[in-house]
């Protein structure tokens, strides 16, 4: 019994490495920069992290399901530009613009999912080129000259507050709680882990793998569209370039948060910590006014250290497989969870 508890604690520690790092960074920040813990600065960090955080949560769902989504930045940009184009700065049109943006995110997610499941295109390739297609169409339609101006209602997503808490942060928290609940406490979540852990086993266990995969891309597309609206609201302006590089940043946050790109392991809480770690590091090097070369060295080194610790701790080690058992058709099954330790929905 006590051995089981110890194992659980050890496993829990492995999963929380990113939090340990975040804590360490916060302690260092408190020592080197007294301004860091001012509430306004902390809210700034959270607000800055909101858009990429929402994006990364969508990416987490896809990664846990065994895929990857490189179209998220393109969806985000499309959403931001579309909301500006449709509203033309008028609040009255926000009710039309937001559902349309979300629908576009879902549609692109559906396209990704169908390419991966029905046409058997590798997720990396499918989402990369869907992203390129979306970017190209956006530039074509707007002739690379979107209007840019946003209505006050959209700006409220980035600049508004509820009490002292920015709306963007509340939205980020809401998305994180909902996604975490879905992944850890619902049948859909368990199936997402199962498909990512071992799609063949999941299928043999009765899980409709294609449907789960498509659902993961749908959620990613939807959240990317939400992130686009939050990002342009934060800036108060919509431009073609907003969100460039966020695709890789979102993947980095997911991995720093402890997920495995092969699928089957990862948590929303880890991703949130990964996003916060990256945002906090940026804030600290700027507060300290480090030269740009040192800024990059410090940020790169800390992230690498976190990732290296994961590796050393064995958190990313290959999972022990359940004993192989013969099944019709000669496939081997490892059970729907496909995991003997760590990272699953109940870990």
């Amino acid at each position: 019994m006590s051995g089981g508890i110890a194992a659980r604690v050890r496993r829990g520690m492995k999963d929380q490495i990113v939090y340990l790092f975040l804590l360490l960074v916060l302690v260092v920040a408190a020592v080197v920069s007294p301004q860091f813990f001012q509430p306004a600065n902390l809210f700034n960090i959270l607000r800055q992290a909101a858009a990429i955080g929402i994006l990364a949560i969508g990416q987490t769902i896809v990664v846990v399901a065994g895929g990857i989504d490189l179209s998220v930045a393109a969806v985000m940009q499309l959403s931001g530009v579309t909301v500006a184009e449709i509203t033309g700065g008028q609040d009255a049109l926000v009710a039309l613009a937001i559902p349309l943006c979300l629908a576009m995110g879902l549609l692109i997610g559906l396209g990704n999912g169908l390419l991966v499941t029905k046409r058997r295109v590798q997720p990396f390739i499918a989402t990369l080129f869907v992203g390129l297609l979306v970017t190209g169409l956006r530039l074509l339609v707007t002739r690379a000259t979107p209007s840019g101006v946003l209505p006050p209602a959209i700006r409220a997503f980035g600049r508004g507050t509820v009490g002292p808490i920015p709306v963007a942060v509340l939205l980020f928290a809401l998305v994180a709680v909902l996604a975490s609940f879905v992944l850890r406490r619902t049948t859909l979540g368990r199936r997402i882990y199962a498909v990512g852990g071992n799609a063949a086993s999941a299928e043999l266990s009765g899980v409709r793998v294609d449907r789960i995969t498509v659902t993961s891309y749908l959620l990613s597309g939807l959240l990317a569209a939400v992130a686009g609206i939050v990002l342009v609201g934060y800036l108060g302006y919509a431009d073609q370039e907003i969100g460039v590089g966020y695709d890789l940043d979102s993947i980095a946050a997911v991995v720093v948060g402890g997920a495995v790109l092969g699928g089957g392991r990862g948590r929303v809480s880890g991703t949130v910590a990964g996003v916060l770690l990256m945002a906090t590091l940026l804030n600290i090097v700027l507060l300290l006014n480090l030269k740009v070369d040192y800024q990059l060295v410090v940020r790169g080194a800390v992230i690498l250290a976190a990732v290296a610790l994961y590796s050393l701790s064995g958190a990313w080690a290959p999972r022990r497989r359940a004993p192989r058992c013969p099944v019709p058709g000669g496939e081997a099954a490892a059970g729907p969870q496909g995991s003997a330790e760590g990272g699953g929905p109940d870990a």
Partner: protein, 350 residues
């Protein structure tokens, strides 16, 4: 604005001619600094090619429109086609693009280089195959091109700093927001900023960040600088988009907006008008693309052209805002340009 560019070009040629009369003509009968292009003379109509970076942001879009306006309208009887490639800042892709355009027998090749060093071989090879190369904006580290048109980026940085110095005669704390770390353009501008600030020792740079010309990154950086400094007396931003990010951060923090440097981007001018910002606009120089087309026509007619053309920098301040700001156009418009009104309306009308 349209006449101003032609005037400057003519003035440049006059200066070169005067220089030649004082210093004497070179042995080949050309004025110093001029290139003999008789070997490139070709009967028209010509096929033009552009190995471009990609017209995917506001500046590049207007830059690309100047190329198109020159070839498709100003000199439409001279050209039979215009092939454009986009490498999206990838020099390896741009090398392939150059090779492809040369293989398609373009008569003139415009290149807005993604790298000073990486493109040397491709540009030299194009020239060796008899295709005259016109470099736009960034240089390539070789002399094997016909002409290079650029803005003096170090001077741009110097102008930012000198203006800020004059705005803060008693000194103060400023933030500096530059483009992309390692980019030769951004480094030149920053070098100019440092040179300019050297004359104002009472000015302290309390924050410097490379923001990739992104307003989002500029806002994030500015939010951190605001937290670590109770008062920021000025912001040197290399362009209006980063200026916009800085202003948004200042507004969110409830701070007064100090003097800011920027450019002639309409989005910036809108913000400057809305908040009565004291600013210096240093023009970005996207019309230099049209100068490239002007020179291309001369090259293909066998007329001598300058090897290096420095595109003039125009500056203006708050008091001239109404002259440049166009509320009837969208934010992506740049005020100092050479496009006819019909093109402006077609691409930038709200």
């Amino acid at each position: 604005m349209k006449g101003k560019r032609s005037l400057v070009l003519v003035m440049g040629l006059v200066v070169l001619a005067l220089g030649g009369s004082v210093l004497g003509l070179a042995e080949d009968g050309l004025l110093p600094g001029m290139v003999d292009t008789t070997q490139y003379k070709a009967t028209g109509p010509w096929l033009a090619g552009r190995a471009g970076l990609g017209d995917t942001n506001a500046w590049m879009t207007m830059f690309g429109l100047h190329f198109r306006y020159g070839i498709e309208e100003k000199y439409k009887d001279f050209f039979k086609g215009f092939k454009v490639t986009s490498c999206f800042w990838n020099p390896v892709q741009q090398i392939a693009d150059i090779e492809s355009l040369v293989a398609q027998n373009v008569d003139i090749l415009f290149v807005d280089p993604a790298s000073e060093a990486a493109l040397v071989g491709a540009v030299e090879e194009a020239m060796d195959k008899g295709v005259p190369v016109v470099l736009a904006s960034t240089k390539v580290n070789t002399d094997e091109f016909v002409t290079w048109v650029s803005r003096d980026n170090i001077k741009t940085g110097y102008l930012y700093a000198d203006w800020m110095g004059k705005k803060l005669p008693d000194g103060g704390k400023i933030a500096v927001l530059m483009g992309m770390a390692g980019s030769s353009y951004a480094e030149d501008v920053y070098r100019g900023v440092k040179q300019g600030l050297a004359a104002y020792p009472k000015i302290e740079v309390v924050g410097m960040a490379y923001c990739d010309w992104s307003p989002v990154n500029a806002k994030k950086a500015m939010e951190a600088f605001i937290q670590s400094n109770p008062k920021i007396d000025g912001v040197i931003a290399d362009g209006g988009q980063m200026g916009l990010g800085a202003v948004e951060a200042l507004l969110d923090a409830g701070r007064a907006i100090p003097p800011i440097t920027a450019d002639d981007w309409n989005g910036w001018l809108r913000i400057a008008k809305e908040h009565s910002i004291d600013f210096l606009a240093v023009t970005g120089g996207c019309p230099l693309a049209l100068t490239c087309v002007d020179l291309a026509v001369q090259i293909l007619q066998g007329k001598p052209v300058p090897h290096i053309v420095e595109y003039p920098i125009i500056t203006f301040e708050k008091d001239e805002l109404d002259k440049y700001y166009r509320p009837d156009l969208n934010d992506q418009y740049f005020a100092v340009n050479e496009l006819p009104e019909a093109w402006i309306q077609q691409y930038y009308k709200k």
